[in-house]
Chain length 315, copies 6
Amino acid sequence: MATDVRLKDELSSITDQLVETYTECSRLNHLAHEPLPSRDAVADIVGDLFEVLYPGYGKRQNLHIGNIGYYVGSLVDALHDKLATQIARALRHELCDESPHADCVKMAEPKAVELLRRLADVRKTLEIDVEAAFRGDPAARSHHEIIFCYPGLEAITVYRVAHELHRLAVPFIPRMMTELAHAKTGIDIHPGATIGPGFFIDHGTGVVIGETCEIGRGVKLYQGVTLGALSFTKDDEGSLLHGSYKRHPTLRDGVVVYANATILGGQTVIGERTVVGSNVWLTESVPPDTTVVLEKPKLRLKGAKSTNDPLMYVI
Amino acid sequence: MATDVRLKDELSSITDQLVETYTECSRLNHLAHEPLPSRDAVADIVGDLFEVLYPGYGKRQNLHIGNIGYYVGSLVDALHDKLATQIARALRHELCDESPHADCVKMAEPKAVELLRRLADVRKTLEIDVEAAFRGDPAARSHHEIIFCYPGLEAITVYRVAHELHRLAVPFIPRMMTELAHAKTGIDIHPGATIGPGFFIDHGTGVVIGETCEIGRGVKLYQGVTLGALSFTKDDEGSLLHGSYKRHPTLRDGVVVYANATILGGQTVIGERTVVGSNVWLTESVPPDTTVVLEKPKLRLKGAKSTNDPLMYVI
Amino acid sequence: MATDVRLKDELSSITDQLVETYTECSRLNHLAHEPLPSRDAVADIVGDLFEVLYPGYGKRQNLHIGNIGYYVGSLVDALHDKLATQIARALRHELCDESPHADCVKMAEPKAVELLRRLADVRKTLEIDVEAAFRGDPAARSHHEIIFCYPGLEAITVYRVAHELHRLAVPFIPRMMTELAHAKTGIDIHPGATIGPGFFIDHGTGVVIGETCEIGRGVKLYQGVTLGALSFTKDDEGSLLHGSYKRHPTLRDGVVVYANATILGGQTVIGERTVVGSNVWLTESVPPDTTVVLEKPKLRLKGAKSTNDPLMYVI
Amino acid sequence: MATDVRLKDELSSITDQLVETYTECSRLNHLAHEPLPSRDAVADIVGDLFEVLYPGYGKRQNLHIGNIGYYVGSLVDALHDKLATQIARALRHELCDESPHADCVKMAEPKAVELLRRLADVRKTLEIDVEAAFRGDPAARSHHEIIFCYPGLEAITVYRVAHELHRLAVPFIPRMMTELAHAKTGIDIHPGATIGPGFFIDHGTGVVIGETCEIGRGVKLYQGVTLGALSFTKDDEGSLLHGSYKRHPTLRDGVVVYANATILGGQTVIGERTVVGSNVWLTESVPPDTTVVLEKPKLRLKGAKSTNDPLMYVI
Amino acid sequence: MATDVRLKDELSSITDQLVETYTECSRLNHLAHEPLPSRDAVADIVGDLFEVLYPGYGKRQNLHIGNIGYYVGSLVDALHDKLATQIARALRHELCDESPHADCVKMAEPKAVELLRRLADVRKTLEIDVEAAFRGDPAARSHHEIIFCYPGLEAITVYRVAHELHRLAVPFIPRMMTELAHAKTGIDIHPGATIGPGFFIDHGTGVVIGETCEIGRGVKLYQGVTLGALSFTKDDEGSLLHGSYKRHPTLRDGVVVYANATILGGQTVIGERTVVGSNVWLTESVPPDTTVVLEKPKLRLKGAKSTNDPLMYVI
Amino acid sequence: MATDVRLKDELSSITDQLVETYTECSRLNHLAHEPLPSRDAVADIVGDLFEVLYPGYGKRQNLHIGNIGYYVGSLVDALHDKLATQIARALRHELCDESPHADCVKMAEPKAVELLRRLADVRKTLEIDVEAAFRGDPAARSHHEIIFCYPGLEAITVYRVAHELHRLAVPFIPRMMTELAHAKTGIDIHPGATIGPGFFIDHGTGVVIGETCEIGRGVKLYQGVTLGALSFTKDDEGSLLHGSYKRHPTLRDGVVVYANATILGGQTVIGERTVVGSNVWLTESVPPDTTVVLEKPKLRLKGAKSTNDPLMYVI
């Protein structure tokens, strides 16, 4: 390729202009000797966690009860090191201004160990989730299919682990994890939400579950459901208040929310076993054992006799 | 990094607790000597299929009519082996309880060959799909752009192959394939659905097409459309009936469904050439050549004169 | 695996049938000696652009103001070559019929250099976008978290670069870039749209922004928002008119659109600072400083006293 | 690149001619449905064996006595499966003519397990080898340096494992392993040779140790040493006899052989503690406790006074 | 890691000094817009050639006579493109001074096609080489083992292909190929040498075969054999004459050369069926049917009675 | 594959036995929380150094004087971090017993910077080496070919860098680097040797250059040359003295040593411009301007008239 040399000569001044923006627009840079948590490392950790939580479904095959201890023990040990490293990076970054001399490595390790300690309980919860999915979807042929193919379970699994890290006050990494799941499944669960066992999301694309949601046991959601905020609190200067004050709804045990329904507001409580129909838009509480559906909307039906092309009559 | 040795010492007991859950919560494990189908292998098969179906658009460049036979022949041969291996694994897993001595390898190969045999017809259908996309989207500049950039076509392509495997009674793998496409495109088409040629999905994120949908020729869907179930059948003990009884709608030839519309129910039939408007929520049949739109919703418009901040008036 | 030889013998005729379809259904092939742009190469270019736009957040760590010039200069130089190669391929493909002898390499290089020249300005715009995200989301703890974890910013960043390529009349590649972002984030922004600084998309899955949208400064969208076309123009023979005539709405400065709202039509203009509520469906213009919400829908609430199973009452 | 189409047209006939040679020169093909052992798989096995034999020196870091059991147990389990698969392939290939129905999988597994069982003993021998290297090389600063950097130890390690497989009558794989080491170190040890503990090869490039060598304890070799055959036995028709009859020398305990010495013949025995000097060429036995050196060769020294260029006087 | 900032500040001036050397010592740079042949691409080409020459032994398994044509045809087609690209780069580089406007792409393609055309003959020669190896080594158990494990055959195969490229006057690439084989096998065959069929090198490490060697049919070499130059021709100014004048020996049909023998000089001819013994150093011709051995060297044997440590008596 | 479960059950006890050897044969383990230098990281560093020393010959193409500064500056910066990390690991390991609290990170960085500072001088020396290779080999067609294809230059380049690290008292890493080159080229140069500019090794397989060699300017070696030790010094207890006392020969300026010659001993000095012939074995000093050749060896030539098979007369 015969490159035009005069054009290439401009690349130097282009670089200089870009470098200037690294001082001007410094919020888009992270120019410092302390590395941030690594996206690839966090993805690798999530991969290892799936091997521990669902052994035999992932990369390592031919596992059996006689050898599983070795494999899991080896993974747990590796996870300890990887988690401790990334958590220390995240803490250092969070604390660099207020506590520049904090020993982040020392702070990170107990958090890593505690996460690993909680995995057995996470597995017990996930087993209830899988059972709920099987009971909730007539298309599911077996538990295997759910673990293998259901994006809802994948997103819930990542959330359950990320939520434990969130509870351990680990910065950045919980959200990095749930965004990995969001990118893959289209399901966006904030790691700060509280969700009981037996949770099932079918199809799932477009589901959003906000930071301060509280979800009981045995809840089922379909695709496109938003559990969001109704309005935001501002401080005296009119800026949004950042923090975890309650602004997303509460769903009690056994609630079912059908596709594309929207439930908003921190004071909104959906009572036990209540069913919210597809496309419903709710900003107020609903008592238990209730079914909320859209009043059958008035549809305008236009005959198309005068033409073969209904597209002409479009809305 | 100076690791705290006492903390690391706990990893053994953590491992032991996890191993205990492999007996307790055994549904989350696959501990057996017969390997499951491999996700990576299935993704590789899908990649090879795209090379066969759209030669010149993928990895191998410089193809021409003189050499294409070699390339495709080589791919077909490799696909035969890869498909036979993964199908055998899927069958063995499906049959392990009822027919532990079935010769799954022998059962798998004819299914693999039959899938390959059907690819020429799949290509003929896909050509109609591409033409429909070109005719249906004013933003499309060429057929090339559609094959190269349109996620709708990607999801439909994967569905068309997976559906053939579904018809061949191959377990697991069809759903693994459509979930690969779901993860990438946000379009969730169950491999069991029946879809005629000339099918076009624009944008596509959030589309869900259920297992027992029947879709005619020349149908067009936009993002967020759900073709779902209205209710589920239960057995005498109140458990969901698992299986393929008709519970999702039928769309006849030439139907168009705009963004975020929801059509539910196994008895719901949308007649030929009918148009369903954006956001419409339908649980009943509609005759042919009809246009269904939301009655113009009553909107509340609040003036914002008293303030510069409309956010104060939020819903 | 004991393969059935007779079955394998069929692979030859299967290949022959497939090769026949390469003549019959020739629109699905690209059989020519001029290679198309490469998806992997475009993804690699996007990766390099993120390193230039957000240094320190990606692969290369330990950057500081003393060394950043080298790193960025090296990337800019490599980007020049990669962009020029891929743009030349795209031009050659676009022009092969009408101008078979065009010197596409010579045409490509100035476009590549011009894109690089504009990156400093893109960065200045992105800084305003990040600030808007921080001000607009109470869950955001820091600017770092937004750059690291927010899919909305990722989609906007890719759009901003792709839009510059679109303005430079580069074919294919802008759409390939935005579809990469669409696949990862579920946010589908056409590279032809015009979007002012301070743009924020929260959660984002399902957002669609059409080719001829015009979006002012400081606009905020939530997940599932569609800014789409209302109807398409046809030519005298009834075929869709392909091209960039205005068919998507205009949103003026400071507009906010909540989750799953739909705004359609090239003549639809949403006035300054107006707020469009969740699930609203709009095909007409709205004046400035207005709040548009769904009239509180009539919900049917069915008591569930007669049974423990609300599912019986489903919609 | 504007390809000359007429030239490309020839590729078909070139392919046809090549395919003809697959029938004519069939010894260069392996056209069969039973796959051969895989070179990559064997290399992977060797990599895993080094992790087991020298834990902490390879890929996995941060090992300690508390977690080593998990890591090694997991490797042992994976090695079992990998070895059994490759050994079965090798056996099937070896036996395909004489015992086409042999159950090679069943024959392979005990061999795989037995190899693993012997690894603990192999490690004990290797520790003596490392100690011998440290004592034998003044340039060695530590045991660590030997394990990390000495190609001699690498070749001996691979030999020790390959020799056990050879003793277990596994075809192909032992030689594949030693050739991997040969390619990397330039040291060619036939897996059939018998070598006592405390063996040290310094530098090593060019060392050849034949199939029927017998080497005692504490032997040391330098680069370029050949322990070879003197002549070959032929059968009645004048063809070489293939097999393991003794045709390479015996070196008793404590023998040292300096660089580039050559010792040939199955009847040649080098006695205990004997030293063979650099470049010596030996085809007869030597008693114990002897030093064999080249008689100081008569060198011709030509003065170079008449010229500045000694090259003129070259040999 | 707390980096010392003052130290890092020096990196700029270090870079400046290095950049200065790119002008001063410009022979170590290749700073130009025309890329050199790529080492990785050449290695990839060699890999593909092995797949064509020894199908079934390499990466692709399960080949059979029914599908081999597809696989090989696909490889041949890909090889055409890869070879043409790399040969064009090599020619451009060679000719850039004398013929800056040569159409290297046009010159490269016929050379690429011609190489492919000769591969069938190369295979026929290689089959004779394999047969010679089997007849020549009692340790060889089968032809398979030779193709799979013998570095000699690997080096000869690469040489045979590289030699054809050398005959086609392709610069650089033939030597790059033989150096790949040299690095892996320790066998250094110049691509300019002429070597008849039935050539066998056993063990091979350290073998050197110079550019102008002529080697007949059925020749066998062992490790460490040098076929080298005796002296070099200089021009009038005392500089070495660069070029291909005959300066390495000729070995006629059936010659055998044992380990570490050295044969030097362009006038040296080793007659038919002559055997050159191990370590022999030859600079003169030898008649046919002769055996040349070292006169049994006088060895000094020192008794070791006075000490237990023979090392004291070392040479 | 039907695995024999009883056999697999043994894997646990096999693991236990292996773990026992990690206590018994503890010298083969590195069980500690401080990681060793990583082989992969060192190989990566060597790769980066080649990009800096020979820009345009390696991975990055299209370099020119306008952009080379960016590329090299970016590499230098990355090399700083990589070198500092690995050197710190090596120091920590070296010092862990005697100075457990040494701040190895602080000690490592100045060494890393100093190495980078010396690279400009290394390049100046390498340019003289390349020129010497071109003058010394009639087969070399250009400087490019030498940089691209000559393993001798590759080994010398690695040595020159490793030697600087050796001078900076960096443990382990220099030897790891030269062993990487040894594995690839068969040339084993100890990083402690001292070698003047204009050094050329032709072919090179089997060359060994010991730790305390001193080599002047303009020296040329051929394949198989050993510059070794004659005997080793022992301490009072009969153990080898480990360290760098002079035990390898000195070669003054302009010395040439032909293939497979062996020169031994710390007191042996080869005078200026002296030529040592092929296969010569030297343990004593030689004056300047001398040519040392083997006295023409007496060869025994046996006629082969009585037989057609010269092999019968073999040595």
